[in-house]
Structure formats: C-alpha cells, structure tokens
C-alpha cells in the first residue's frame, strides 16, 4: 500500500515536474536573452488560462479556434509588455528591473481576479478524462496529455534553438549582445521574440494545468515555484530548467509523502521547495548547470 502510494506520488511528481520544467524554460529564456528576472511568469500562465477559458466558455468557440486565438493574444501581449515596460528599463540596476516585474505581477493578478472572480472554474472537457492503467498504476489521461504536451514543447525548443534563424540569433544575443548586434542581429527583435515565446509557452502550460485542476488565481503560484526550479538547475541553463523541474516536482511529492506518513507538519507540499532553495543557495548558488559569474574590475 505504502509502496503503491509512493510510486503514484513519484509519477505525479514527474508529470507536474515536466510542467514546472516548461515554465522554468520560459523563465530561463527571458533571463538568458534579456537579463530580466521575470517575477510575472506565473501571471502569463494565469492570463493564458483565463483567456482560453473565456474564449471557450464565454464566447463558446470550439477548442481548435479558441486555443490558437489565445496563443495569438499571448504573442501580442508578450511583445507589448516588452516594448512598453521592459524596454525603458534596459540598463537600470537589477533592483529596479526586479521590482518592475513584481509590480506587473501584482497588477495583472488583481486585474485578472477582478475580471474573472476569485473562484476556481472548470475548463470545458476537451478530452474525455479517464484513468489509464499502466503497470498497475492508475494514471489520469489528462496527466498523460500534459506529459505529451510538455515533451513536445521541450523538443520544439531544442530544434528551435538548434536550427531556426531566430533561435540562433537568440543564442548569439545571449552570448554577447554587442557582438550579436555588430553581426546584424536586431537585438530589439530578439528581446521582443523572447518575451513573446515565453508568454505563449507559459500560456500553453497554464491551459494544460487549467484543464487538469481548473483555472484559478492559484496558477500564478507556479510562477513563484519556478524559482526553486531555476536556482536548482542554474539560472541560465535550459537543460537545468528541465532537470530542476523534474527534481522539484518529485521532491515536493516526496515531502508530502514523508509528511503524511511520519512528520504531520502539514503544508509541506508548498514549503519544501523553498527549504530546498535556501539549502541550494547556501551550498551551490549557481545550481547544477548554471555558469558561474566571474567578475573583473
């Protein structure tokens, strides 16, 4: 019984972990190419999920129309955010840049709760939800869908950065902005593209989570959970984001398991990643795959 519960929790952890990995990848994408720490990452999920919900429920569009419209909306949203708010902040000290995204996060969270209310709302069923029996474990089909979506996104990221023109331009910009600019890459476009991609992919993750758990303000908390993930993986490593996501996903489920069996503290699921975060920062502040800053005078 205990073993079954444990393996169930680990599977859950891996599924949630891949989603964390996807969101963390979006976070790393912005950090790597524009050096902005985005505290409003969770709001991308929130806005994406609510927009899709509104398209499907309020306007009663079919999924194959509403979902692409959501993605288009998120592209525009990401670009506007970058151009209007983040572009003036280039060259400002790190405190100001962090605080701008914190302010944005607060603004959008309040705006979304104003428009859509504070209650959890269910998505219309796009895929029929049932459980699938794999190796004696009951797994919800929604979980399998989210796993598939996450893996597809990750593979798409890989090919995008390896072969596409924009992906290569982004890597060049992340490596050195001035050299990239002198080679004819428009750094402005790269910045805008980074925000747009990050917004779209986060929204995608938001929609997936919304389908499984329902849409509510709690989605934005994933934007906070991303911090333990990226710190564990290394702030500027895409691979690190995925590995960190899986590790944190499993960790919080294991913490929940240990807590329910022996400790009985309660709330370990949400708090354990933060303890892990503090410990990682003390031992290995640049994470598993992050590059160490070397400062010269």
């Amino acid at each position: 019984m205990k073993f079954e519960l444990l393996s169930q929790l680990i599977i859950n952890g891996l599924v949630v972990g891949t989603l964390y990995g996807v969101v963390a990848m979006c976070f790393v994408l912005i950090y790597k190419s524009t050096r902005v720490v985005n505290f409003a990452q969770g709001e991308f999920l929130l806005i994406g999920a609510w927009t899709c919900w509104a398209m499907l429920v309020k306007f009663e569009l079919p999924f194959y129309v509403g979902f692409p419209l959501t993605l288009i909306f998120m592209v525009i949203f990401g670009i506007l955010l970058q151009v209007l708010v983040l572009r003036p902040m280039i060259g400002e000290p790190i405190i100001s840049v962090i605080m701008v995204t914190v302010g944005l996060s607060m603004f959008f969270q309040a705006l979304v709760s104003w428009i859509f209310g504070g209650y959890t709302k269910a998505f219309p069923e796009v895929f029929s939800v049932k459980t699938v029996n794999i190796g004696g474990l009951q797994i919800e089909s929604a979980y399998i869908m989210s796993l598939v979506v996450s893996v597809v996104i990750m593979i798409a990221f890989y090919f995008f950065f390896k072969y596409s023109r924009m992906g290569l331009a982004m890597r060049a910009t992340a490596f050195d902005q001035q050299i990239a600019q002198s080679l004819g890459i428009s750094v402005k476009h790269v910045f805008a593209a980074a925000w747009a991609i990050s917004a779209v992919v986060s929204a995608l993750a938001g929609v997936v989570i919304g389908m499984v758990n329902g849409v509510s303000s709690a989605l934005s908390f994933i934007g906070i959970k991303v911090f333990p993930v990226v710190i564990l993986g290394g702030l500027d490593s895409i691979v690190g984001a995925i590995v960190g996501g899986l590790l944190i996903g499993v960790l919080e489920n294991l913490a929940e398991f240990v807590d329910s069996q022996w400790l009985h503290f309660g709330n370990m699921y949400d708090i354990a990643p933060f303890y892990a975060l503090v410990i990682i920062l003390m031992i290995k502040p640049y994470g598993l795959f992050g590059t160490k800053d070397i400062e010269r005078i």
Binding site: V85, S105, I224
Partner: protein, 354 residues
C-alpha cells in the same frame, strides 16, 4: 556685499567636513523638523479619528519602510521578505507581553531585538549571495516564515491569531487613537533620528560603499559579509519595532496579514519614496497609505451607486499599487525624495533657477 550675501541664499556651500556631516543640512531644515514634530504633538487635539488612524498607520509602516530602505536603498541588497519580519515583530511583542508579564512598553523594543536576531540569521546567506539570488532567497524566507506563523500555535495562536494588549505607562492604558498617536510619534522620531544618524556613522558609510561598488569596498578593507548581515539585522530591528506597534495598535494579530503582498508594498514605499533617502521612506509610506484611500474616494465619487465598481475596490487598490510601482520605476526612478530636492533647489535659486 557680505550682508546681501547673507540675506540672499544662493545655494548650500559647505566649507568643513563637520558642516557636510551634520544631521540637518541647513539650520532651516532643523527648525522645520522641530516645528513639525511640535505641530504633530497637537494633531490628536484637532484631527478626527479617520486622519489619526491614517497617521498612526503612516507611523508604523514608515518605521518598517525605513528599515527596508537601510537594506535596499543604502546597502543595495534587495529583500522580498520584509513583511515576514514585520509580522514576527508583532507576534513577538504580543507573546512577550502576554506570557512574561513584561509591560508592553518594554516588550516593543524587546520584540525589535528578537526580530533583529532572526534577521541576522536570515542575513547569513545574504553575506554570500547578492542581487537577484538574494531576492530569491528572501522570497523563500518570506514563505518559510509565513508557514511558521501558521504552524506555531504556541507562539502565534495559529489560525485564531494572537491578542495584543494596549500600551500602558504607569497604569495609564493607551487604547484610544489619541493617546496611541503619541506612542507611535515617539518611536517614529527616535527611529528616524537614529536612521539619519546611522548614515553619518562609520557603519552607514560602509553600507553605502558596499552598495556603490562592493568590490572596491572590499579592497578598501570593508568586511562585506559583516556589513551585509549587519544591514539585514538593523532592517529587521526596524521591521520588528514597526510590527510591534502595529500589533498593539490593532490589539489583535492574525497570521494572514503578513503575506508577500505586504512585502511588495514595503518595497513600493521605498522605491516610490526614493532609494537611499531617510525622509524618502516617510514620503513613500505616506504615498502608499494614502493611495488606497484616494482610490476609495475616487470610486465613491464616480460610482457611488455602482455596486460592481465598489465590489471591485480591493482589486482596484491592488492594481493601483502595482501600476504605481511600474510607473515610478519608468518615469521617476529616483522617487519622491529626488523630486522634492529638485523643487527645493528650484526655489533656493528662485529667479535664476537654471
């Protein structure tokens, strides 16, 4: 010529180091400060409860905001966990006065010291990391402390919250706004004078050196770890005092009050007021306390019969805070204190102020 010069001021010219290091830059500034404190002493006699309540709020939030400004504005270390220390101060003071028989008047500074001890502990990682990593570490400490509040029934009363006694001096209980105002004013004056003094001292200059260029500071012999941790400690002390005053004012401390949202509000106070300015912390606090009131006023003005708008008031207030952070950072990154300085300089050189 000489007499004309003494009558017409055309700027501040300091010729000695002592003159540069005085706590008030000009004699006029000193007189204004003394007179405004004296005027504030009269405030409870002529203001109604609504304004007194706002001023008391400005008082305790202002103390905490000054603490945050010491760590963010003067030492350049970003902290996203200030509300947790504010809450810790409130709970500690309530707990001390309820459990040990120490009068509330002494429990408040004790709570400050205890919060400082915790702040020093949290500051230990801050000695090693900086900038963005520190922001994330303090974010974690915010959640960990919040979780602790919710869990530690013996300390905070758990979900029921903790009762806090009113301040009493010589058996005289200060449970009205009128009398409590003096308690808050007393602490505000002491803490702000201490804060301004700190910046004139060796430690204060070390903080500023760490902020401006930490590598150069280290080369000059400033112990980075020591000063980063120290600034965290001092900032938590201020947060603890502010929190204790908050707790004894409300008479009841609930575990839900000290969320990340409040931490962000403290940061907003510091940024809007002006990073690295003692009086800026106060200006920012005044702005942040008045902003929701103005929003409420505006909503009632434009839509007093619009229930939809009134229902949304809480969200509108939050949006206004978020928006004001963003707008200030884009258009006035040096904050209100900088704007005030510009206005003063304009009038100082009035007819030829270019």
């Amino acid at each position: 010529m000489a007499s004309a010069h003494s009558r017409m001021r055309c700027g501040e010219f300091r010729t000695t180091y002592q003159a540069d290091m005085t706590i008030f830059p000009t004699p006029l500034a000193r007189r204004v400060a003394v007179v405004s404190v004296l005027l504030l002493l009269l405030a409870p006699l002529c203001l109604n409860a609504y304004f007194l309540n706002l001023m008391i709020q400005i008082g305790y939030y202002g103390i905490a905001a000054l603490g945050l400004n010491i760590v963010v504005g003067f030492t350049g270390q970003i902290s996203l966990g200030h509300a947790a220390f504010f809450g810790l101060g409130a709970f500690t003071s309530a707990w001390i006065s309820n459990n040990s028989g120490i009068p509330v008047f002494f429990a408040i500074p004790l709570a400050g010291l205890l919060t400082m001890a915790v702040g020093l502990m949290v500051g230990i990682p801050a000695g090693r990391i900086k900038g963005l990593y520190l922001a994330i570490a303090t974010l974690a400490s915010q959640y960990i402390l919040e979780d602790f509040f919710a869990r530690a029934d013996w300390f905070t009363g758990g979900s029921a919250g903790a009762m806090a006694n009113p301040v009493s001096i010589f058996g005289y209980e200060m449970y009205t706004d009128q009398s409590y105002f003096y308690v808050v004013l007393f602490y505000v004056v002491i803490m702000f004078v201490a804060g301004a003094n700190l910046m004139r001292s060796r430690d204060g200059r070390a903080f500023i050196a760490v902020r401006d260029h930490y590598l150069s500071a280290e080369i000059m012999g400033i112990n980075l770890t020591k000063y980063r941790i120290l600034s965290f400690g001092i900032s938590s002390f201020y947060a603890g005092i502010g929190g204790a005053l908050f707790g004894h004012y409300l008479g009841f401390v609930s575990v839900e009050g000290f969320t990340l949202l409040l931490s962000i509000q403290f940061l907003a106070m510091v940024i809007i007021g002006g990073l690295g300015s003692v009086m800026g912390a106060m200006m920012g606090t005044i702005f942040m306390v008045l902003l929701p009131e103005i929003m409420e006023f505006g909503v009632h003005l434009f839509g007093s019969n619009n229930t939809e708008l009134i229902r949304a008031l809480a969200f509108i207030k939050e949006m206004a805070i978020g928006l004001s952070i963003v707008l200030f950072l884009i258009f006035e990154p040096d904050g209100l204190a900088h704007r005030w300085k510009m206005i003063k300089n304009y009038w100082k050189l009035y007819p030829f102020s270019y």
